[in-house]
């Protein structure tokens, strides 16, 4: 019994803490209302002091006391216990107290508990209260949702779900049926039951439990069928349709039951989920067979099925139509017209099946069917179009109703004479004009744009070779792309504030550094007021800077350095413990900037780009160096290294002439970088381009080897520099010659988790020391640290050596491998690595081919979308012919499971509409890939289908290199049939020649346009 001296809550609380379970329950329930009111406040206080929110420190006794005495204002904070820590004796105490007291707030509390998201469910307690009559069954959806999720309480007991339901027959009468009406916000009520339908594991699963109970007669079987069909028809639980489908099918409706449910099945044909439409067709199939469904209603509803995105329901829908026609010949004409909707489906297989049905079912003449076919002709695949057209013409008969409104759009191409391979290109007005424009270009421009090679190939009747742009010669400093330095302290502050939020524009980062060098010493009278907001912002925690970017954090340290003094320790936080990378180079440059800023007169950065893309016009670089030397400004070696790496090919000769006046070792270095002969690289001992070298007589002091390496790469970015061979660094990558990259892709076993694909890239020669003075080595990521991180970090890396993105492409390949089977990530972006490939001046080398190839088939939507744009451009300007990508895929596909043929086919489907040139490129890609496949993969069909469509559209014959694979494709299924069709594809000479001419004209036009741009840049 509870102590009677309730005025003093102390004894009461002490009793609560010590009483045995049964006595506690009895005592709490027996309290009268007056005592409850007096005890409410002290109990609530004690309870609050006991940390009731913590599931570790819960005091079940105080919980019970609150339930016994408190009003809603305190009781609303009561939570059902967490089973993790609850001792055995606590079981059921809260239930007994609540059921015994029946407080007026109980219904509200029950609803609240059911709505709360908890580790465990309140449902068992609530249900027990309902069964005890303490409160009515809640009408809220949460009650049902919780019942489903906690398996009607059976999850906590040894009993199976079916046993649990039998033991609570009220659930079978009411609650079970509400599960087919509730629609949770996540759209899936039975999400944990989707996969659990195996008898062994089914003891707690809803599906098998319901089926079992129905078979016992414990619940109405037909009502269950009806409820599951109705749930589907209402469109509720839209992500959990699989459960209802499986439940319905496991109940195995009889023909009589199916007939009664036929209206629901017919409605489900238009369901937004394809699986539901297929389910409906499966249920209708025996009814059609037995003529127990209205055929006309079915025919009216089938078009909705034929317009679905996926193939399965459409194929099943056509099969249903065939069955209807077989049983109801009077519906043949209507079925034929309905089947024409299948011609709008994206899959040629569906279109072919639709045509077969129309051929079989349509009357001899039918203007309606003919017209319906004609309106869809432009959507029909190339492989089916001729057949569709012929059928439309036949059905139109004498009425001519099939004549399409735009005959030119669907008529076969006008035949042209087959050109003689050795003769000049055919007499096509547009091509002739293009040729004239091309020949009229200046010689040098034509050479740079690769037009001479193109014209030569045309003349020989050969396929044009892939274009390898002479990247080290193409001008880059376009008018209109100049970068203006920051002009004022206010502008500097604005730029720094914006960069603290986002560093994605690397040019702005460089402008900011340059601004700090030139303007950082200004101290107007109101300086503190002007920088107050910046100072406050930059002192906030590092994680508050824009995105998670090493560059943004380092930049913040530079700003602090400007405001408060040098911050090497602050920068250390961004580089310590990280494997060497471009951020180490940036950090070292910032050290240099700070040292220079303290040392004396302020010139800007040598490395400040003059043009977007990170380029420095050599004609402006030389005066910049001269200005530094004249001003006696401390010269940072890392600044010099970065500047050299950014030198554009434009105006080298002019710049070299101007550089003759530069004196000392600096002058020699600059002239060497610009291409002067007779300069011998000579550096001081030691590897480190130390910051301490700054400020010690800039003109004559010896420079380090990293500076000479940078000069060598500026001199000849892609070729050997013999002058460096004999130096101590001659064997290092990037010194005497640029490295050759060799790659392979393989599955990588991991200690935890499933294997994932990995790119292994080897460099020859191998990298030298990866130090901040050697930024090119730092750009080459080691394995296990592929990604540079955020978009800002990647763009910064790309700006270090803009003329050759190969080192960053290496990182991109690794990052993409990570996302082959994963969706886009905002934190590890991949599309940004592809950006340099948009420029026609960027060579499409092996690494670029690997990167583009991986991106085209990645699950990462950003990478895939950007890759489509990139490859479209690569093909358009001739850098990519398609076979390169085919070879990449051929290598990858040898690692089983790494390449999904469906994704390749999907990429081709999106690329080929760009034009004839892209169509040709897709053909070459497929030929290269198919030729390397030894064992036909499971879904070879997708590739063969894409190949077949391309052959038909281009009038090409099957390539001989593909025939062995086709011959190895055995069996009698659709893949084998398609393989045979492909193997027998014949060349339509006329169409082939026309498409080829169109392709080459497009290529020439693009190249001429590019040549014009080069000419404008070279001679502004």
């Amino acid at each position: 019994m509870a102590p009677k001296a309730a005025e003093d809550a102390g004894p009461f609380l002490a009793w609560v803490e010590a009483a045995p379970r049964e006595e506690l329950i009895a005592g709490l329930v027996a309290l009268d209302e007056g005592r409850r009111r007096r005890l409410a406040k002290p109990v609530a206080q004690a309870w609050r002091a006991s940390h009731p929110e913590s599931w570790i420190h819960r005091d079940w006794r105080l919980d019970a006391a609150v339930a016994a005495v408190c009003a809603w204002s305190d009781a609303r904070r009561l939570r059902t216990s967490t089973a993790y820590r609850e001792p055995k004796e606590a079981e059921g105490v809260l239930l007994e107290v609540l059921a015994g007291r029946r407080p007026d707030w109980l219904e509200r509390w029950v609803e609240q508990e059911l709505a709360a998201t908890q580790w465990t469910s309140a449902w068992p307690l609530v249900r027990a209260l309902v069964r005890r009559g303490a409160c009515p069954a809640p009408s809220t959806d949460d009650y049902i949702i919780q019942m489903v999720r906690c398996r009607a309480g059976s999850w906590a007991r040894d009993a199976s779900l079916a046993d649990g339901l039998r033991a609570d027959p009220g659930l079978l009468a009411e609650e079970i049926w509400r599960t087919f009406e509730v629609d949770p916000t996540n759209g899936n009520l039975f999400q944990y039951d989707e996969g659990e339908w195996h008898p062994g594991a089914g003891s707690k699963s809803w599906g098998p439990a319901l089926v079992q109970l129905a078979s016992e007669g414990a619940i109405d079987r037909f009502r269950l069928l009806e409820a599951s069909a109705e749930a589907l028809r209402r469109g509720i639980q839209i992500k959990g349709t699989g459960f209802h489908i499986r439940l319905h099918e496991r109940l195995e409706p009889t023909l009589d039951e199916g007939e009664r449910l036929a209206p629901a099945y017919l409605d489900l044909l238009a369901h937004r989920v394809d699986a539901v439409a297929k389910f409906a067709l499966r249920q209708l199939a025996p009814l059609i067979e037995a003529q127990r469904v209205d055929g006309r209603s079915l025919v009216e509803r089938i078009p909705a099925v034929l317009q679905r995105e996926t193939k399965g329901p459409a194929v099943a829908g056509l099969a249903a139509l065939r069955a209807v026609v077989g049983r109801n010949p009077e519906l043949a004409a209507a079925a034929a017209e309905a089947a024409t909707f299948g011609l709008g489906h994206a899959e040629p297989e569906v279109q072919g099946a639709a045509l077969s049905l129309i051929e079989a079912a349509a009357p001899a003449e039918s203007a309606a069917v003919a017209s319906s076919i004609t309106t869809r002709l432009d959507q029909v695949a190339a492989s089916q179009r001729g057949r569709a057209q012929a059928l439309a013409t036949k059905l139109a008969g004498s009425s001519g109703a099939a004549a399409p409104a735009d005959a030119a759009a669907v008529a076969p191409r006008a035949p042209r004479a087959v050109p003689d391979a050795k003769a000049p290109p055919p007499d096509l007005p547009d091509l002739q004009q293009l040729l004239a424009r091309a020949r009229a270009l200046p010689d040098e421009t034509r050479r740079l744009a690769g037009i001479d090679d193109l014209l030569a190939a045309f003349g020989r009747g050969e396929e044009p070779p892939p274009w390898a742009p002479p990247a080290s010669e193409l001008p880059r400093c376009e008018a209109g792309a100049e970068v203006a330095p920051i002009g004022s302290l206010d502008e500097l502050i604005d730029v720094l504030l914006a960069l603290l939020e986002s560093c994605e524009d690397s040019i702005e980062v460089e402008r900011a550094l340059d601004g700090l060098c030139r303007l950082g010493g200004e101290r107007p009278p109101d300086f503190d007021a002007r920088i107050a907001a910046l100072a406050q912002r930059v002192r906030q925690p590092a994680s508050g800077f824009g995105e998670m970017s090493a560059i943004s954090g380092l930049l913040a340290s530079a700003i602090l350095g400007w405001l408060d003094g040098p911050q090497p320790a602050g920068r250390l936080a961004y580089t310590l413990g990280r494997k060497p990378g471009p951020e180490h180079f940036f950090a070292a440059r910032l050290d240099e900037v700070e040292t220079r800023a303290r040392a004396g007169p302020r010139c800007g950065l040598l490395a400040m780009p003059t043009h977007r893309g990170g380029w420095i016009d050599a004609r402006r670089f030389v005066p910049r160096v001269r200005e530094h030397l004249a001003a006696g400004s401390p010269l940072g070696e890392l600044d010099l290294v970065q500047a050299l790496l950014r030198l554009a090919p434009d105006g080298r000769a002019e710049a070299l002439a101007a550089a003759r006046e530069l004196r000392g070792t600096i002058g020699q270095l600059v002239r060497f970088a610009l291409g002067a002969s007779g300069v011998e690289p000579a550096a001081r001992q030691g590897w480190w381009a130390a910051v301490t070298s700054v400020g010690k007589g800039p003109a004559d002091r010896p420079l380090s080897w990293p500076a000479w390496i940078a000069a060598a790469r500026a001199r000849r970015p892609f070729d050997a520099v013999p002058e460096m061979e004999a130096t101590p660094v001659g064997a290092e990558a990037f010194a005497a010659r640029p490295p050759v990259y060799r790659w392979q892709v393989r599955w990588r076993e991991k200690k935890w988790g499933s294997p994932d694909p990995s790119v292994v890239i080897e460099l020859d020669p191998p990298l030298g020391p990866r130090e901040p003075s050697r930024p090119l080595a730092l750009l080459c990521r080691e394995q296990q640290q592929w990604s540079f991180g955020s978009t800002a970090d990647v763009r910064f890396a790309q700006l270090v050596w803009p003329i050759d993105p190969s080192p960053t492409l290496v990182a991109g390949c690794g990052a993409l491998c990570d996302r082959l089977f994963r969706p886009s990530s905002a934190y590890t972006p991949t599309a940004v690595y592809l950006e340099p490939l948009f420029s026609p001046a960027t060579p499409f080398g092996e690494l670029a081919q690997l990167l583009a190839g991986l991106a085209l088939v990645a699950q990462d939507a950003d990478a895939r979308t950007t890759a489509l744009d990139v490859v479209a451009q690569l093909v358009r300007d001739g850098r990519c012919r398609g076979d390169e990508l085919g070879r990449v895929y051929g290598s990858i596909q040898r690692q089983q499971g790494l390449l999904k043929p469906g994704r390749v086919a999907e990429a081709i489907e999106q690329l080929r509409p760009h034009g004839s040139l892209h169509e040709l490129a897709c053909l070459r890609l497929l030929v290269e890939l198919l030729a390397t496949i030894e064992e036909p993969p499971r879904d070879l069909f997708h590739l063969l289908q894409a190949y077949h469509e391309l052959l038909t559209a281009s009038g090409s014959a099957c390539d001989a290199r593909v025939l062995p694979l086709l011959q190895r494709t055995g069996g009698s299924g659709k893949t084998a049939r398609l393989a045979k069709l492909v193997a027998e594809a014949k060349c339509d000479e006329t169409l082939h020649a026309t498409r080829r001419d169109e392709a080459y004209a497009a290529l020439l036009e693009e190249r001429v346009g590019w040549a014009r741009r080069i000419g404008e840049v070279a001679s502004p």
């Binding site: 009406e181 209402r234 709008g344 432009d378 990530s825 972006p829 979308t865």
Partner: protein, 453 residues
């Protein structure tokens, strides 16, 4: 962070909306803000294309029940219906505040069943939604929005009452989206079947995280991540998939865009109606907090005109600003500003196709929601507390405005105002002016007014 403020709201329907076999669709209307007991009776008539009616209403319902970003989902929300002469409009707003849907049915398709005018909520329960698909087949059907007194008293059936909590953010977004619509221009147009192809080709399993542009391609559209002058910028392409089930049956798709804000609207045209899907610039950005209307609200050009323009509202389907200006004698700019303010208060909507506003009053008690424009309120407080300090003797040009712990430098200029606060640094004015710029502008206007007076 404190929990978002919410407005308690109750839907009270005399019966549950349902599809009556052999008759058609009966939609129940809820009480209005002014009179919670009355249930408006707006329309009863025939519908020429019940399949289109069902499709469009289903989509509006789906938007209302959708959430494309993290903010918690709200259940049991109902769309809003507005009936004016010759137009029936159903509006819905997603719980992530980033998608606004509106289905417009024109007078021709509705016959002559107009019974009343006004705006209220309409019951969209699960059972009714499930039966909308049945409208797809068969000939004409009837539609009733509300019911007459006789039917209300004789029909029987239980009153449906739903209590919901509407976040202020959601209410703000629902009203603020109207300030974007006048800025939209039509950019792309394709037949419905091409629209369906484009939507089906959108990336699955996660939309791109970077902005993309929709550009014309062959006869249709395609997605590119290269900025395109002839394209429309879009981020969060998952949201566009809502249109895919309907696009194949539409006559055409028009894509409207506003380059400056990045908002786009997707208009599907059907025989008897049209569907608008307006999406915010980013999946993580709702339409609330965008601040596009703040500059208007901060100014005073609308204050004198507001009452006059409001007095002219009579549930018109189209409010022609020049005609209103002529009738009232107000300047066109004043009328336009007043209409923009009325839109931000949920009292008018905007139809880009007509190029005009329409009268509709959202059935929520927005007078109680003082937090609708916290930035503007904060700006006014700054001015009232004397925390705007001009840097020169003459007001204008440059001011120091007190921030949380530092004074921010505000520079006012015709080519664009600037501030040193974090909001401005991050968004560079793309999401409306910060409170400091607003405060400076308010203060300047006050100074100008004092001088002028």
């Amino acid at each position: 962070m404190a929990a978002a403020a919410q407005l308690a709201h109750t839907y009270r329907y005399p019966f549950a909306s349902h599809l009556e076999e052999g008759w058609g669709l009966r939609l129940a209307t809820s009480g209005t803000v002014e009179d919670r007991t009355a249930n408006p009776y707006f329309f009863e008539g025939t519908v020429a294309r019940p399949d289109e009616l069902g499709d469009l209403l289903l989509l509006v319902s789906e938007v209302v029940r959708s959430r494309f970003y993290l903010p918690g989902a709200m259940r049991d929300l109902d769309p809003v219906v507005t009936c004016s002469e010759q137009a029936l409009r159903f509006e819905g707003f997603s719980s992530c505040c980033g998608v606004y849907a509106r289905a417009d049915f024109s007078g021709e398709g509705l016959g002559s069943g107009l019974k009343g005018r006004g705006t209220t909520n309409v019951d969209f329960n699960a059972a009714m939604r499930g039966t909308l698909g049945r409208l797809r087949h068969g000939g004409e059907a009837r539609l009733a929005v509300g019911a007459d007194e006789v039917r209300l008293t004789t029909a029987g059936g239980a009153v449906v009452e739903k209590k919901v909590k509407l976040p202020v953010r959601w209410l703000k977004g629902f009203t603020e989206v109207q300030s974007y619509l006048p800025r939209l221009t039509p950019r792309l147009e394709v037949p419905g079947i091409e629209a369906q192809r484009f939507l089906r080709a959108l990336p699955r399993g996660g939309s791109p995280k970077r902005a993309a542009w929709v550009v014309p391609f062959q006869r249709g559209l395609r997605l590119t991540q290269r900025p395109a002058n002839d394209g429309v910028r879009v981020l969060g392409t998952d949201r566009l998939r809502l249109l895919e089930p309907l696009a194949g049956r539409a006559r055409r798709l028009r894509v409207w865009g506003d380059e400056e804000t990045g908002v786009s609207a997707w208009e599907l045209t059907f025989e008897t109606g049209r569907l608008w899907l307006t999406v915010s610039p980013d999946i993580a950005r709702g339409f609330s907090g965008e601040g596009q209307v703040l500059a208007d609200l901060a100014g005073s050009s609308w204050e004198g005109a507001l009452a006059q323009v409001r007095a002219l509202l009579r549930w018109q389907a189209s409010l022609d600003a020049p005609a209103v200006a002529e009738r009232t004698g107000l300047a066109l700019a004043e009328v336009q500003a007043a209409l923009a303010v009325l839109g931000s208060r949920g009292l008018v909507g905007y139809d880009p196709d007509l190029g005009s506003y329409f009268h509709r009053e959202l059935p929520f008690d927005l007078e109680r929601v003082e937090q609708l424009h916290p930035r503007l309120l904060a700006a006014r407080e700054l001015v009232a507390a004397g925390k705007v300090r001009w840097r020169s003797a003459t007001p204008g040009g440059e001011a120091m405005v007190q921030g949380t712990s530092v004074e921010h430098r505000v520079r006012l200029a015709d080519e664009g105002d600037r501030c040193t606060c974090r909001w401005f640094s991050r968004y560079q004015g793309e999401r409306g002016p910060c409170k400091h710029i607003l405060a400076a502008r308010i203060a300047l206007e006050g100074e100008d007014g004092a001088e002028g007076g």
